[in-house]
């Protein structure tokens, strides 16, 4: 079990109360683990583990201000700033609906703070979610 808190600016990376399990997959409410708004170009979810098993992020999208971005599109989003008091939603499809009951999700997110060239800040958070 990974330690819950590696996220220096909030006790959440994933906000459990605002995240949900749907028939299509997971919708994770993420809070920005940094002290200032960052462009989506420097944000990248890199790894998701559900109930101890890796779940591919290949079909994942990030939703912000009503727009959806594939992960491949994120590095181009140099003028879409993730405001520090907003969440983004990470949508991750599951091959089949998750079974009813509790599920544990563990997400790794990389940040590349644009004013600290060469820095990769790796942060991780987990949450217990309930599938209906």
């Amino acid at each position: 079990m990974a330690r819950f808190f590696k996220n220096a600016f909030s006790d959440y990376l994933i906000t459990p109360e605002d995240s949900r399990v749907t028939p299509q997959g997971l919708v994770l409410d993420l809070r920005l683990p940094w002290y200032r708004s960052l462009p989506l170009s420097v944000v990248m979810p890199t790894e998701l583990v559900v109930d101890g098993q890796p779940l591919s992020l290949a079909g994942a999208t990030v939703e912000y201000e009503g727009r959806h971005f594939t992960l491949a599109e994120l590095p181009e989003q140099v003028s879409t700033f993730w405001f520090i008091q907003d969440s983004v939603l990470l949508h991750v499809p599951t091959p089949q609906p998750l079974a009813a009951g509790p599920h544990h999700v563990l997400l790794t997110l990389n940040l590349y703070p644009p004013y600290i060239p060469m820095l990769t800040h790796v942060t991780r958070g987990d949450a217990a979610l309930q599938a209906a």
Binding site: S10, Y35, R36, P75, R124
Partner: protein
């Protein structure tokens, strides 16, 4: 005494940066106006510094209405805009760096935002080459705004990047060009509570020890991060653990009070960085009693923002109380130094 209306002493003035309240802000316990109101209510002014990209949605675009409302708030609460912190996002496209032209274009609207909101000073960053700021001098002159990069741990006034700016400044010879000292580079050690928290987070002890060894080395943060990564490589460390520990290289570094004398006439604003206090109310790892008299005697008359960064690792602590303690400490030191009553 009424803190919001009275300077610390003849000399520099006190204030707050909203960065001190990062947790309150991040956890959505305050909106922008509430947070400013609380700073005023707790008498933590009169100076108010903000980070544009932290506090302002849509920054660097600032609407006329927003700017007007901000000025009204300052007047209503008896606060004074002291400094706007802006960012040199040179690596906004991962893997490439902005050109000087692009960086000039990136900084200009941030300077315009400062002008619109009434800030007399701007904190910029060393990530952009000094040429960018020199090219923006006409815009700064148009608005009469001072600018300076933050001399932040692990830099000091004679580090190579700072020397490059000092040389360029000598050629440009403008009173608007300066520096923003951050007292995190005058640390004697890392705060004991910071190290204790690393252990509480259950970071591996061997990694903690390696990080503390690298922290002591008199090198810049980038070098320290790489050196730490090199030393932990054989240990197959979790990258999230390496990131968590590497934060220490950027927050505090060893330095003396006297080193600031080299650039004192160019100091435009100060970040009074602090983390924690000892039982006597002194900062636990930064010797304010030796630093503040240097600034007072050096003729610095701008603002020192109380900049609490203990929010990185402390929970359940009232940031407003921490800032109040910091300002009380500053008043005690200056009063003792000048022989006046606190």
């Amino acid at each position: 005494m009424t803190a919001s209306a009275t300077p610390a002493a003849k000399g520099f003035q006190l204030g707050s940066t909203l960065y001190s309240f990062t947790n309150e802000w991040h956890e959505r316990r305050y909106g922008f106006e509430d947070l400013i109101a609380e700073v005023a209510r707790r008498k933590l002014g009169p100076g108010l510094e903000i980070i544009g990209f932290s506090s302002i949605r849509g920054f660097p675009q600032v609407s006329d209405d927003f700017a007007a409302r901000f000025k009204d708030l300052m007047a209503e609460h008896g606060l004074t805009p002291s400094c706007l912190s802006i960012n040199a996002d040179m690596a906004i496209r991962r893997g490439t760096m902005m050109s000087v032209d692009e960086a000039v274009a990136y900084h200009a609207p941030q300077i315009e935002a400062a002008a619109k909101m009434g800030f007399p000073a701007i904190r910029c960053q060393f990530a952009a080459p000094v040429e960018v700021i020199i090219r923006l001098l006409p815009l700064l002159e148009k608005h009469g705004i001072k600018i300076g990069p933050e001399v932040h741990a692990p830099l000091n006034p004679s580090s190579p990047p700072v020397m490059a700016w000092r040389e360029a400044y000598a050629k440009a010879n403008s009173p608007l060009l300066g520096f923003v000292p951050d007292f995190g580079c005058c640390a004697s050690t890392l705060p004991a509570t910071y190290i204790a928290n690393l252990r509480r987070q259950e970071l591996p002890e061997d990694l903690i020890q390696l990080a503390l060894e690298v922290w002591q080395l008199p090198r810049d943060a980038g070098w320290k991060r790489q050196e730490f990564a090199r030393r932990v490589e054989p240990l197959k460390a979790d990258p999230a653990d390496v990131s968590a520990l590497s934060v220490m290289f950027n927050i505090l570094s060893p330095g003396t009070a006297e080193m600031w004398k080299d650039i004192m006439p160019q100091v435009i604003h100060v970040h009074g960085k602090f983390y924690d206090f000892d039982a006597e109310g002194n900062e636990a790892s930064i010797d304010y009693a030796s630093i503040l008299p240097v600034f007072h005697d050096g003729g610095f008359t701008g603002f020192m923002s109380s900049e609490w960064e203990g929010h990185l690792y402390m929970r359940g602590v009232d940031a407003f109380d921490m800032v109040a303690q910091h300002q009380a400490l500053a008043r005690r030191i200056i009063a003792r130094h000048t022989g006046q009553a606190a």
